[in-house]
């Protein structure tokens, strides 16, 4: 079959849709064995004994490893420290903690044998109740970030108009379609090969090197295709170390893939949050004070913090801002960043409060935002590198039909449904790190680019190829971008919307270097400076030239600017008056993320963010029974991610103006802003439709009905 690719298509699209793309679990190694985890059924306490006799005698079982008999991991031998050292303790820190691994010749036999492992425990009292812990003085609260005060603390209290409210966010799980796991192969001379699901092959390599105290170059990490990460694959989880230990012990490759219910407990989650916002304004709509206090869920055995209160410091122009962020260590698995990490949680609270204030002032929420839009970053007293948010307001408002919105809630009724419009902004740091890229320019007219970066779905290879194609004037089909291999030139993990900026800059730099070499070669061989590189290479009898460049982290001017990507989400919802059902009718998401390098994959990012945003706003909640410390909806039938029928057509608009500071492409990251702010837009639209303010996500029919 012939396929046609236009320059905007994903470079690996055909591999993905034809099944040729190989994900970690699909690698077939000779002598592959299968690991299955035994997990704790208590929430806190001590393992007294593990009876593995029946399991070891079960057919096909090779071994059962636990803290009683694991192979040594030199990096775990010292006492104390974080992260959790798997199989190095008899302590149970959370329900569902991996406490043993059963390895057998087939997955089914390992699964059965795991069910035969009998564990006895000494239980101790535990606490998983996040909300009760906030009010309970006896539960310790750790400072998650230094308190921030600009001007007068709690200035909102003396404002002419004030809003003081509490906003709640439940535990959300990443749960990409692809389950987490690893294939580990500990070979001779301590050479280790793993096929991993990771957002950073170098990070995985370094973690393994540190745990087992072997040289990083001994470890080969492969992760070319990843079936969704959303942040959960930003670290190497204890379960991965368990599989590597088992491979080391058995001298055989071990494949470990966790189950869907295990995806809820041992690979992180978006932490529950409880936020208080105090907002003060003058009667004519000038913000005079913002107080944002947040509590986030963390774990007793490892701490986790994120940027919940960041946005409140600079998004709106207020002389007085103070923020406080605490985390509450609970007897639960440690959280990890989930798309739009803390900012998505914080934006829900801040942008709901902004909408509440606009309503209290009887102002259009867009006008209220525009009136309080700062000319420069008020927290750093320096300009933004680029910011077109007012233009974004206008474009989005026109597209959604904002002029049909009435400021008075409940004004639009169609049959049993009430219609409402909502808006909210999102913002995320436009970060840029340091990365290396190797470029190999060949006399056959092709270009190979290599970097140990990742692609968890945004289309890394496509973006990089487009950058190189434009600079080198080489068609995309003659460029190959290789990633997901730890032996390639180093790059940071894919997270924080920084890959295009970071690795793209290195691609830019390597292309510039290659062009300059070609120009030198052309000059040396008396060719015209504009000669085609193929002719130049041929004339010089060179089959290829190679360059490896590490991108300088930042333009020296960068320190004089605050660099952020912005988004603004508009939604129209309908709310059923009798049943409380909320449906999102229309979505317009506008991205102000600099120059768009890859229009098609950029749009897909925004669409994916909106779908995730519908989940955050309306359906997603991991529910824990605090009496047992166990999740009760740990499957895809009961943990509700949006289905196609929940998702309307999504209009995506990009400002598409280059940022002059951040990087040579002028492109700012956009994976996070696609989601950040979305839930607030829905909550604000529900209020506009009904007059009911739902301050606790997700906005399920019962909450609407009872409000």
């Amino acid at each position: 079959m012939e396929f046609f690719i236009d320059e905007n298509d994903r470079v690996d699209g055909i591999e993905k849709v034809t099944g040729k793309a190989k994900y970690f679990a699909e690698y077939q190694l000779p002598g592959l064995t299968y690991g299955v985890l035994v997990t704790s059924t208590i929430t806190k306490g001590k393992i007294i004994a593990i009876d593995t006799k029946a399991a070891k005698n079960a057919p096909g079982v090779l071994d059962v490893l636990s803290h009683l008999n694991k192979p040594s991991a030199a990096g775990y031998e010292q006492a104390g420290g974080s992260p959790m050292k798997i199989f190095y303790t008899d302590q149970v820190f959370f329900n569902g903690q991996p406490i043993a691994i059963v390895v057998a010749d087939t997955f089914e036999r390992a699964t059965y044998a795991a069910s035969l492992v009998k564990v006895s425990y000494e239980k101790t009292a535990f606490n998983t109740d996040f909300e009760a812990s906030i009010k309970d003085a006896a539960v310790k609260k750790l400072q998650g970030a230094p308190p921030y005060v600009r001007g007068i603390a709690d200035a909102y209290k003396t404002a002419e108009v004030k809003v003081e409210q509490t906003y709640k966010m439940p535990v959300e799980t990443h749960n990409p379609m692809e389950l987490h796991g690893i294939i580990a192969d500990w070979g001779v001379n301590d050479k280790v090969t793993v096929y991993a699901k990771t957002q950073g092959v170098k990070s995985t390599q370094n973690t393994i090197a540190n745990v087992f105290k072997i040289p990083a170059e001994n470890i080969q990490v492969n992760s070319q295709f990843v079936g969704g990460g959303f942040g959960m694959a930003l670290r190497t989880w204890p379960l991965e170390i368990a599989a590597i230990m088992a491979s080391k012990q058995l001298k055989k490759p071990v494949k470990l893939i966790i189950t869907r219910d295990q995806m809820f407990t041992m690979v992180g989650n978006r932490p529950a949050a409880y936020q208080k916002i105090g907002l003060g304004a003058t009667k004519d709509g000038k913000i005079t004070g913002i107080t944002h206090t947040a509590f986030g869920q963390s774990a007793t055995y490892e701490n986790f913090t994120e940027g919940v209160v960041n946005m409140s410091k600079f998004m709106y122009d207020s002389e007085n801002v103070n923020t406080n962020y605490y985390v509450i260590p609970l007897d639960m698995g440690v959280p990890i960043w989930m798309r739009g990490p803390g900012e998505a949680t914080g934006a829900f609270a801040l942008e709901s409060a902004i909408d509440e204030m606009a309503f209290a002032l009887d102002m259009d929420p867009l006008d209220f935002r525009a009136k309080n839009d700062p000319e420069q970053d008020p927290s750093q007293k320096r300009p933004f590198s680029s910011k077109y948010i007012k233009e974004a307001y206008k474009l989005g408002a026109a597209k959604i039909g904002w002029n049909n919105r009435k400021n008075k809630p409940g004004s639009i009724v169609e049959g049993s449904w009430q219609i409402g419009y909502g808006v909210s902004v999102g913002v995320f740091n436009a970060g840029r790190g340091r990365a290396s890229v190797k470029g190999i320019l060949k006399a056959d007219g092709t270009l190979v680019l290599q970097s140990a970066t990742s692609d968890i779905g945004p289309g890394t290879g496509t973006g990089m190829t487009l950058i190189a194609s434009k600079l080198m004037n080489i068609p995309v089909y003659k460029i190959v971008f290789e990633l997901g291999d730890s032996s390639l030139p180093p790059a940071p993990s894919q997270g924080g919307s920084a890959t295009l900026s970071t690795v793209g800059s290195a691609v830019n730099d390597v292309c510039v270097a290659l062009k300059s070499t070609i120009a030198e070669l052309a000059a040396n061989s008396n060719m015209d400076a504009t000669s085609n590189f193929v002719d130049v290479l041929k004339k010089n009898n060179l089959p290829m030239i190679e360059k490896t460049i590490q991108s300088s982290q930042n333009n020296p001017e960068a320190k004089n600017y605050s660099m952020y990507s912005f988004s603004i989400h508009f939604v129209q919802v309908k709310v059923h008056q009798l049943t409380g059902v909320v449906k999102v009718n229309k979505i317009v998401s506008v991205g102000d993320s600099g120059k768009i390098v890859s229009p098609k994959t950029a749009r897909s990012q925004m669409v994916g963010g909106a779908v995730g945003g519908i989940g955050m706003a309306l359906t997603e909640e991991a529910i824990l029974d605090n009496r047992y410390g166990r999740y009760v909806n740990n499957n895809f039938a009961d943990y509700h991610v949006p289905v196609n029928a929940d998702v309307p057509d999504i209009d995506v608009i990009f400002i598409d103006k280059p940022d002059p500071i951040v990087n040579p492409m002028g492109a700012k990251g956009m994976g996070e802003i696609a989601l950040i702010g979305f839930a607030g837009a829905v909550a604000n639209a529900v209020f506009n439709a009904t007059g009911k303010r739902i301050r606790s996500l997700p906005i399920t029919p019962d909450k609407v009905l009872e409000a």
Partner: protein
């Protein structure tokens, strides 16, 4: 792994014989629920009798009664022309259930036999009287947002998860059961049970019996009808509350009514007293509101599902309103 025998037969008698002889044998049709339960360790049959090849896939009209073979798939039933014409309420109920993929595999008999979706039932480390009699009920005092408000017992507050069954109970269906001793016929409304002191029993099927077909008498309820399912997302979610409503209206007076609810009880919840109340009344919002109030007699919340005390009557009102508006 836990070994089990798998036996396939295309002869009903053989299938019945196999199950009657063997206390740990069970039938498997679509397997959309049974396989899940086996994977989660909730059930571990030693012998599975694959009945997919039994001749029970007919849909035919005989003497004004629609006969539906127990192995007809949910999607085939929903797409059947006779069902669309004569029992469109059943079609709507079927289409509200599960997802298209599941409906393609799930059978009529299997749908009736599906077990509750209560999270405590599925987690073998937690108490559940339905899974392990005497172990307690996790949902009472725990997470019970999805749970029952009618006919509950101190032993179990689980709900039957089917939509199809809500439509069937409203339509006065009958169930034909076969065993090696012969056939018997029971009213659909008597097929499922309340939890009582024996929540481990979902229904009155006796050991060795097989559902072979459903029979639904033709009625005049195919003009003003609606199936309204309120759920947390638009598809592939179990009902918070669902309502099957059908009315016969002459000169704006209700001459016949059928009303049943899902997501509120251990069985599909038929509201016959409310139907009697509706008869002879004008088809007005006031009537529907009174009917909804009456329907809630005896309802009881358990905390997180208290909202159903409001959602259920509202859903009845909306379903009746939409049923009335249909013609």
């Amino acid at each position: 792994m836990i070994n089990f025998q798998f036996v396939r037969t295309s002869v009903i008698k053989t299938a019945l014989g196999l199950v009657s002889k063997d206390s740990k044998a069970t039938f498997i049709a679509g397997g959309t629920n049974l396989v899940d339960l086996m994977k989660r360790g909730v059930t571990a049959p030693e012998k599975l009798i694959d009945i997919n090849h039994l001749p029970l896939k007919q849909i035919e009209l005989k003497n004004n009664v629609l006969h539906i073979g127990a192995l007809v798939s949910n999607s085939a039933l929903a797409e059947n022309q006779l069902v669309k014409e004569k029992f469109p309420l059943l079609m709507l109920a079927l289409k509200a259930g599960a997802s298209a993929q599941l409906r393609n595999v799930a059978t009529v008999g299997g749908n009736m036999m599906q077990r509750t979706r209560c999270g405590y039932f599925y987690d073998t480390t937690m108490p559940c009287n339905k899974r392990q009699p005497g172990s307690g009920c996790g949902a009472i005092g725990g997470y019970n947002r999805m749970h029952a408000i009618f006919g509950t017992s101190e032993f179990c507050i689980a709900v039957h998860p089917s939509d199809m069954c809500v439509g069937l109970v409203a339509l006065d269906a009958q169930v034909v059961l076969a065993s090696i001793k012969g056939e018997r016929k029971i009213n659909f409304i008597d097929f499922h049970r309340l939890a009582g002191t024996t929540p481990e029993k979902d229904n009155n099927l006796q050991k060795g019996e097989l559902i072979v077909r459903l029979e639904i008498p033709i009625n005049n309820l195919n003009k003003n009808f609606h199936y309204l399912k309120v759920r947390d997302r638009t598809s592939y979610a179990f009902a918070l509350v669902s309502v099957a409503a059908a009315l016969e209206i002459n000169n704006n007076t209700i001459s016949n009514a059928r009303l049943a609810m899902g997501g509120v009880a251990h069985k599909p919840w038929r509201l016959q007293l409310v139907e009697e109340f509706l008869k002879g009344k004008p088809a007005t919002t006031a009537t529907f509101e009174e009917a909804a109030k009456l329907a809630m007699n005896g309802a009881k919340g358990f905390g997180e599902n208290d909202f159903k005390l409001k959602l259920a009557p509202n859903t009845i009102i909306e379903a009746l309103t939409l049923a009335k508006a249909k013609a």
